[in-house]
């Protein structure tokens, strides 16, 4: 199978994946006890009002009718339906909460690359030396510090004690590049730190693996400097598996970093999903799950394609 056919096959596979996700997210949520109407009106929900609203929103029709109705509207009109109580249009809600999350995920992934890859190289080059231990220690520290704690510490230090960065909100870098980047710094550091630890470990181990390969020995035997061997011959190859890790984590970040979005008041899809869970806004929840799944599948696909492109040895079957 050629590269083109492989790409096509992977793209076509997204269809069944989304179908499965839509069925699960729609079904699981609809079957839960306690509906959106009860959640919306809390202790003040009386049975008549609940019944009336259920009817108004068509919640009392059979499952398959509601499912087909929902999917049909999404596929045909890109319409994710209406919410029970809020800002009514789910499509609009999804469209406004996606960009902040994409920016956050991308900048977080960038931070992880900028910290993780150099740290991984330093660590591998100085294998079992103090630099390696230090980098490993820092990586585990980064991995172990909970997001919410790091976020709050960063806010305290960089917004309150040394007020350089704003502590909350989101400004699109497309609209205002300076302010946009400033608001992204702290949240990106917060999400990037944990991932950079993973990236660092991956970079370290794959670089060590490459170092043990014969062509590196050959290069060294030719008398090339250590720096040249590392930079020119080893890193490039060691990057391949690292790219996958960054890609997967980017996809994971797109699912919304709920806690970070919450702390930094970023109006992203993670917070949207959380609020939807708490308020039982089924349409929002189903819509955001579907969109997250789609994004994850796309990022995954892009990563795999990139991987296959970078490493010509990979077979497509």
């Amino acid at each position: 199978m050629g590269y083109g056919a492989y790409v096509l096959k992977r793209v076509l596979l997204i269809g069944p994946i989304l179908f499965g996700v839509s069925l699960i997210s729609f079904g699981a949520l609809e079957l839960l006890p306690g509906g959106p109407v009860e959640a919306a009106f809390g202790t003040r929900a009386n049975p008549e009002l609940v019944e009336q609203l259920r009817e108004q929103y068509g919640l009392n029709r059979p499952f398959h009718v509601r499912y087909l109705d929902w999917v049909g509207d999404i596929v045909l009109n890109q319409d994710f339906g209406q919410t029970i109580r809020t800002e009514r249009d789910v499509s609009t809600l999804l469209a406004t909460s996606l960009p902040p999350t994409i920016w956050l995920a991308a900048s977080g992934a960038l931070v992880s690359v900028f910290i993780g890859i150099p740290a991984g190289i330093v660590s591998a080059v100085n294998h079992y030396e103090p630099e390696d231990y230090l980098a490993t220690f820092l990586a585990f520290l980064g991995l172990s510090i909970p997001n919410f704690f790091l976020g709050l510490v960063l806010i305290l230090v960089f917004s309150l004690y040394v007020p350089i960065f704003p502590s909350s909100g989101f400004v699109s870098p497309l609209e205002d590049p300076v302010e946009g980047v400033r608001t992204l710094v702290l949240p990106a550091l917060t999400v990037g730190t944990a991932i950079s630890a993973v990236v660092m470990r991956m970079m370290r181990s794959s670089l060590l693996e490459v170092f043990s390969e014969e062509y590196i020995r050959t290069a060294r035997a030719k008398g090339l400097t250590r720096a040249l061997v590392t930079n020119k011959h080893a890193v490039k190859n060691a990057l391949i598996p690292t790219v996958t890790v960054v890609g997967l984590n980017f996809g994971y970040l797109l699912g919304g970093v709920v806690i970070v979005e919450q702390i930094f008041a970023i109006p992203g899809i993670g917070r949207l999903t959380l609020t939807a869970i708490l308020t039982r806004e089924y349409r929002v929840l189903q819509g955001s799950l579907l969109v997250i799944a789609l994004l994850f599948a796309l990022v995954n696909l892009a990563t795999d394609l990139l991987y296959a492109y970078l490493d010509p040895r990979i077979k497509y079957d």
Partner: protein, 559 residues
């Protein structure tokens, strides 16, 4: 910092006007001004100074004493909110966070003041017929609607708004507040008449919650969609909403209100309601100056603000209380002795400290501490923690060691905490219980279906005793999830609902009812939570009221 509030001391200020069959709102005469608890001589409901406020005793230290002459104009106040706008139609919305925004955009006939008394807003005065069946409201003249309506409010708008609220198709959660209305009609441009089949004493309070006035024909307007674009009469005009992020409102040039010197309100150019869900982050933003005012300071964090010289922390008794709900129809809690045992087993003080960090007030009844009703309605034999008594009652009862579940909304950590304290204290007197954190929506269904033993839940009160007691303890009422039924209580609550006369006379019915309720324990009342807000000292003239609703109409920013 807590507020020393005297209640029931307002006899002088004319609250007995009720018995004179004429209520006067916040307008016109000196007497009316005193009654409304406001000092603006021109009759605006603007609490511009401490004098005359707070029930007329003048010792209200939480009212910012500020001289309107010192007021500065302009600027944007940034308010930190817990959650984003949950809809824009005031008849459909019930989320507190959203109403806090809409309150600054929409007007209503009557609003609640600092003492939780109704005072006139769009109505200047009102009267009740001798048979208590007809209420006549005089509207303020010269009240303008926001663009694109940009016209004067008349009685027809009020009629339209109440017909809309009452229309089942509207689906308003506030509808039940107004169903006793038999007819609403306009008499000329500035008089609205409400007719009832039976006296409805809590009507004024009901008007203040949910009774927002929309322009006539709003639902059919061709140049705007009322569901997207609020068009009210309030001090601020809706400008923009970014979902989950912020809501911006700008000063309404034609707002009717003026300050004590006759200067136009509001002072601010703009208010930005910024959504910062996390409590600690809200406070950090306040400290760093990126917001000016913060709603709902988490009690666990409040201490960090005490003694700050740039930030004012205000804690006043709120209108939200927590209680243990007993399912009185299921064994073993159908045994009143077991319910009493539970009430004697619990230390309210330890809940105040353990779950609310001291920012709460223990209570024996559902009447908010700041309410003018508080001193009039009280339990004769209050509960306190008495483990010996609890144990002997438990032994007398039919309870034989079954495990009781305490259902609690899992997304409310403070209530889960309360449930755990209750569980432990019940254990100390030989009553076994398990805490069952449950999704709130699911839990509400369970409560409605009677599928529970005990529950820890709260009631965010409106302020009339009817709203605090009728719905919960009258037989067969929707919110009577304890399935409590007592004929005498029913009768007292009905009499209270109908006694549109003197406040003390009316309170007597509730005062009697609460003693029976305390004896029979459908609820074990725990504590009223403090209403905590904080603002930078540059925010001037903010009046913090128990309901937590911020009104920014007469607030200004210094500097």
């Amino acid at each position: 910092m807590s507020m020393a509030r005297k209640t029931g001391g307002d006899e002088e200020t004319g609250d007995r006007g009720v018995s004179r069959r004429t209520f006067v709102g916040a307008a016109g005469t000196t007497a009316a001004t005193a009654l409304a608890g406001c000092s603006g001589g021109d009759g605006t409901p603007t609490p511009t100074s401490g004098g005359g406020g707070g029930g007329g005793d003048g010792d209200d230290d939480s009212t910012p004493t500020a001289d309107p002459a010192a007021a500065q104009r302009g600027g944007t106040l940034v308010a930190g909110m817990q959650s984003g706008l949950d809809g824009r139609d005031p008849h459909l919305v019930q989320a507190a966070s959203t109403l806090r925004v809409l309150e600054n955009i929409y007007g209503k006939l009557v609003e609640i003041d600092q003492d939780l008394k109704p005072v006139g807003q769009l109505a200047t005065e009102w009267s009740v017929s001798d048979d208590d069946l007809t209420w006549t409201f005089q509207l303020r003249e010269g009240v303008m609607f926001h663009p694109p309506e940009s016209r004067e409010l008349t009685a027809a708008d009020v009629v339209y708004s109440f017909e809309r609220l009452l229309n089942e198709d509207t689906g308003s959660p506030w509808r039940s507040n107004f169903t006793p209305i038999a007819n609403v009609s306009a008499d000329g441009d500035y008089t609205v008449v409400f007719e009832f089949d039976e006296p409805y004493a809590p009507f004024l309070f009901k008007l203040s919650s949910g009774g927002y006035i929309l322009p006539e024909g709003a639902d059919d307007a061709s140049d705007y969609d009322i569901a997207d674009q609020p068009v009210g009469t309030g001090p601020f005009v809706f400008d923009e909403n970014v979902a989950q992020a912020r809501t911006n409102v700008t000063a309404f040039e034609d707002y009717w209100g003026t300050d004590g010197d006759g200067n136009a309100l509001p002072y601010l150019d703009e208010v930005e309601f910024q959504v910062i869900p996390e409590g600690q982050a809200r406070l950090t933003n306040l400290q760093s100056g990126s917001i000016d005012w913060a709603v709902t300071v988490p009690p666990s964090q409040a201490d960090s603000l005490e003694g700050s010289n740039s930030i004012t922390l205000s804690n006043i008794p709120g209108t939200f209380y927590d209680y243990v709900g007993h399912n009185t129809t299921n064994a073993p809690l159908d045994d009143v002795r077991l319910r009493q045992a539970i009430s004697w087993a619990i230390s309210r003080e330890s809940i105040v400290q353990g779950a609310r960090f001291g920012y709460a007030t223990p209570t024996q009844d559902p009447i908010p501490p700041a309410s003018v009703w508080k001193d009039l309605i009280s339990v004769d034999e209050p509960y306190s923690q008495d483990q010996a008594r609890a144990e002997s009652l438990r032994e007398e009862s039919d309870y034989d060691g079954e495990e009781l579940t305490i259902q609690v909304g899992q997304q409310f950590p403070a209530q889960v905490n309360i449930a755990e304290i209750v569980q432990q204290q019940l254990g100390e007197v030989g009553i076994t219980a398990t805490v069952q954190p449950t999704d709130f929506g699911t839990m509400i269904s369970n409560l409605n279906e009677g599928a529970y033993d005990l529950t820890i839940v709260g009631w965010s009160g409106f302020v009339d005793p009817d709203d605090m007691m009728y719905l919960q303890f009258h037989s067969g009422e929707t919110f009577n999830q304890s399935n409590y039924s007592n004929e005498e209580v029913d009768e007292l609550l009905e009499q209270g609902r109908q006694a549109a006369g003197d406040r003390e006379e009316r309170a007597a019915f509730y005062d009697d009812a609460i003693d029976i309720i305390a004896e029979e324990v459908p609820y074990t009342f725990l504590e009223f939570n403090d209403e905590l807000a904080a603002w930078r000292n540059s925010v001037k003239n903010f009046t913090h009221i128990s309901t937590g609703t911020p009104r920014f109409r007469d607030v200004w920013l210094e500097g």
